[in-house]
Amino acid sequence: MKRVYVNEEWCLGCHLCEYNCAFANSGLRDMAFALKDKKIFPRIHIEGDDKISFAVSCRHCTDPICIKSCIAGAISKVDGVVKIDRDKCVGCLTCVLVCPYGALAPAEDGIMQKCELCLNNSCGAPACVAGCPNKAIVYEERGEEK
């Protein structure tokens, strides 16, 4: 399946992916209205220092430990995409405790949200990838699952 991959040598650390993610998942049509003067809660984040930077988002693991660990049974895998049911999530953050990639963070309301590859918002494909100015984030097939 297609996933989001990171080429860290090309990442400029511009954080545009975070803004595009927050906008894509805001459900709003105007980017300025959605994001201006607001603290954003994107589902992708940039890590790095003054030398290197890279984007981190859900890996949609082959064998996701978040699903096994969720105390509410709120996380599931549908057609390879790891999804969260925000109505079931109680915000205990056990998934944050177990995700080895540090890819998960709660939304503004304390309930978890996660990258679902923009398949269910108006973008239809990852907004972080579409807006990456240096093509450091890509959305493609790599390797085969068992």
């Binding site: 996933r3 860290e8 105390i71 049974g73 944050v96 405790l97 540090g102």
Partner: protein, 408 residues
């Protein structure tokens, strides 16, 4: 066609069902559920009382789960005897099975306190039925005494906080959450709970009850309307013990989740397996391990080859907006990162991260947890860099390439 019997209908049972079905789509699965409920998330009972979830959303798997997995569920019956190939229910029905999984969980330990029988309104806090019974007596003027300041007692306190008059929590231990926090961390959490109106009597225990009065060992008296007993739990291991299997504090299992009896497996809170953080057997009664243990058992019951050999204790729990995470064990050298409102403690030994406690600063904590589970030698990463905020920067470019550039 293989016949599987799963005794219990909680998280470990779901793991077992999904484990079996990953290999065997047609074998006959029978689930024996003592509780008359579709599988629900046990840890959510406090959130239910807090109105943060409801009975529909508490379902751990959807309504069609058993049907989708072709399982027969027998509700309201208890398994009373097992043999290598059969399970006998309390109505003397005998079920035949080729592989049996014990997923019977645990029950509250009821301490032998004098006069406990004179307490009119007393509750446990383990099951949905416990929560529903407790809910019936909640009102804005009741005074609640919770015996036990562990995870169960304190989550109960948070759950009912807005629906009762007052809450007093007592515990024989001199600190809250004594199983997962050290003294300093427990002090921070206690203060936070006290700021939210919870009263504590720590290092103290109920010597005797006389109706709605608790006479404490310290000489204090607590006048209450409702008593919740959350002292501790005991593994439901009797079936295996009676059948001659090996039992310690829980049913002894190996990494394949096999008990000492052939063809019989066990998983979840009733079992005692290997704790990789201390290198010894322990009951690790936490939901993730119940699922993984159950799933491992299921795969092996269906003829596959799975092992659960990296179990560690770990908890993520919040109270009134303060998040607390802990993992592993706390022997070794402690180093800490502190701000006015947060505390992070790391415990290292022999060049490995062995455990941690995080109070109010839990961002990307899974990176730390993975260092414990994967037994990553700290000399291969820049651990100091990651203490303030967990980051994938600590790894080499090559390892990062695998994590973020490959299928994982």
């Amino acid at each position: 066609m293989k016949k599987y019997i799963i005794i219990g209908n909680g998280t470990a049972a779901v793991g077992c069902i999904e484990g079996i079905r990953s290999l065997d789509k047609t074998g006959e699965i029978t689930v024996i559920s003592e509780e008359n409920h579709h599988v629900y998330s046990r840890p959510l009972i406090s959130y239910y009382l807090e109105n943060k979830t409801d009975l529909e959303h508490m379902k751990y798997r959807g309504d069609s789960f058993y049907k989708d997995n072709s399982c027969k569920v027998i509700y309201g019956k208890k398994a009373v005897r097992i043999s290598k190939t059969s399970v006998t229910l309390d109505d003397e029905t005998v079920l035949k099975g080729d592989r049996i999984c014990i997923a019977t969980g645990s029950r509250p330990f009821v301490p032998p306190i004098a006069g406990l029988d004179t307490v009119e309104k007393k509750f446990g806090f383990m099951t949905l039925d416990d929560a529903l019974a407790l809910e019936k007596v909640l009102s804005k003027n009741v005074r609640v005494l919770i015996v036990g300041a562990g995870l169960i007692g304190l989550k109960c306190a948070e759950g009912i906080h807005d629906r009762v008059g007052s809450i007093t929590v007592c515990d024989l231990a001199d600190r809250v959450l004594s199983s997962i926090l050290d003294n300093d961390c427990a002090g921070i959490v206690q203060k936070h709970l006290e700021a939210n109106g919870i009263k504590f009597l720590l290092g103290d225990t109920v010597e005797r009850f006389e109706g709605d009065f608790a006479f404490m060992k310290s000489g204090k008296q607590v006048d209450f309307d409702i008593c919740v007993l959350a002292v501790g739990v005991r593994a439901n291991s009797e079936l295996i013990k009676a059948a001659g299997g090996e039992v310690n504090r829980g049913i002894i299992v190996n990494s394949k989740m096999e008990t000492s009896l052939p063809h019989i497996y066990a998983a979840g809170d009733c079992s005692e397996g290997f704790d990789a953080s201390v290198g010894a057997n322990r009951v690790l009664a936490i939901l993730p391990n119940a699922y993984i243990g159950g799933s491992t058992a299921g795969v092996n019951m269906a003829g596959g080859d799975a092992a659960f050999d990296n179990a560690i204790p770990m908890n993520s729990i919040g109270f009134f907006g303060l998040h607390i995470m802990s993992a592993g064990d706390y022997s070794g050298v402690c180093s800490e990162e502190k701000t006015e409102n947060t505390l992070k403690r790391f415990f290292t030994k022999d060049g490995y991260l062995r455990g941690f406690i995080l109070i109010g600063a839990t961002e990307r904590a899974g990176i730390y947890t993975a260092l414990i589970r994967d037994k990553t030698p700290l000399k291969t990463i820049d651990f100091d860099l990651t203490k303030k905020v967990a980051s994938n920067l600590i790894f080499s470019k090559k390892i990062r390439g695998k994590k973020f550039g490959g299928v994982v």
